[in-house]
């Protein structure tokens, strides 16, 4: 069985990593003070071709169905970074557990920049 595969009596349910990445992205953006999700080389390249499916959020699912998420963030100027990061972690955890039933092991936030005025 795949680590991202859930089974019930009718069959199996597979949740793609992109789904977990999208949930994390939306949950992170809900927090006040978050400007946007940071980008990496791949996501920037995909954005060039209007492919917004590929997010810079990294998702790892271990064999025992534990999820590890790494979120790059750009935050707004004037907000307390540890406070925002903590709220992002909590909101992402709640959203993932509520929507996917997967157990979240780690949510790592990587603040990559401050919004420029």
């Amino acid at each position: 069985m795949n680590p991202d595969e859930l089974r019930n009596e009718i069959g199996s349910i597979r949740i793609h990593k992109n789904v977990i990445s999208s949930i994390s992205s939306i949950a992170a953006m809900e927090i006040e003070g978050v400007k946007k999700i940071g980008s990496n080389l791949k996501s920037s390249l995909f954005e060039l071709f209007d492919q917004k499916l590929y997010s810079a959020i990294k998702v790892d699912i271990s064999k025992n169905e534990e999820v590890r998420v790494e979120i790059p963030l750009i935050v707004k100027y004037g907000y307390n970074i540890p406070d925002i990061s903590g709220r992002v972690q909590e909101n992402v955890r709640q959203a993932l557990e509520k929507m996917s039933n997967l157990s979240v092991k780690e949510i790592n936030v990587n603040v990559k920049g401050i919004e420029r005025g």
């Binding site: 990496n40 080389l41 791949k42 590890r68 998420v69 935050v75 100027y77 004037g78 907000y79 307390n80 970074i81 540890p82 406070d83 990061s85 903590g86 972690q89 909590e90 955890r93 979240v104 780690e106 949510i107 790592n108 936030v109 990587n110 603040v111 990559k112 920049g113 401050i114 420029r116 005025g117």
Partner: protein, 202 residues
């Protein structure tokens, strides 16, 4: 080390060794220009070999692209301030701290330009700033104010209690363009007030 990184390093090592060997073979006169020419002609004539060469080129570009990303990502990852929370780890990129400090130039009107460089080590967070001031600025008062503001802003926004050392280097004192323009206007007014001032001697 990840498997892909090892593969990338091996790949580049093999390529560089192959180039080195080719140079040695060429210098020992073991490989004649005619042989190279024949090989190239053979490759050019066959459509299959051209296709293979084209695909190999594409693969090489993709491998280089991925490898560059891994290396750049690793360098970026090293330059961070990190702390752990109950849900996981939070890392703050030092370039984000630099962005934050750069924004302070807008808060202090006497500062025309501000270029920060942030380093985090065992001593704490060390901020090295190069600033360009406007001519009317009082340097000791201003730099001390800038140090206080920067220190309190870093501690407030990052929520860290670590020592923050701020070094300021005043690189230049710029003349304000407004002052210059006013001077130029005054000079123009003066010259226009003198009658026949535009005439030169023959």
């Amino acid at each position: 080390m990840k498997f892909f990184t090892v593969l990338g390093i091996m790949f580049y090592a093999v390529i560089i060794i192959a180039i080195g060997l080719a140079f040695i073979v060429f210098s020992l006169n073991l490989l004649l220009p005619q042989d190279i020419n024949n090989l190239l002609i053979y490759a050019q004539n066959s459509s299959n070999s051209r296709l293979i060469i084209g695909l190999s080129g594409l693969l090489l570009i993709l491998i280089s692209f991925s490898f560059a990303q891994i290396i750049l990502g690793r360098f970026q990852r090293e330059k961070t301030i990190a702390f752990a929370t109950s849900s996981g780890q939070v890392t703050i990129s030092l370039s984000a701290v630099e962005d934050l400090i750069r924004r302070l130039a807008g808060v202090i009107p006497e500062v025309k330009e501000l270029r920060p460089n942030v380093v985090a080590n065992k001593k704490g967070i060390i901020v090295d700033m190069r600033i360009i001031l406007r001519s009317e600025a009082n340097i000791p008062e201003l730099t001390s104010r800038l140090q206080d503001i920067t220190k309190s802003k870093i501690q407030e926004i990052l929520g860290l209690e670590e020592q923050v050392i701020i070094k300021i280097h005043v690189a230049k004192i710029a003349h304000d363009e407004k002052d210059n323009r006013r001077k130029r206007d005054l000079e123009k007014e003066d010259s226009s007030a003198i009658p026949f001032s535009g005439y030169g001697r023959a």
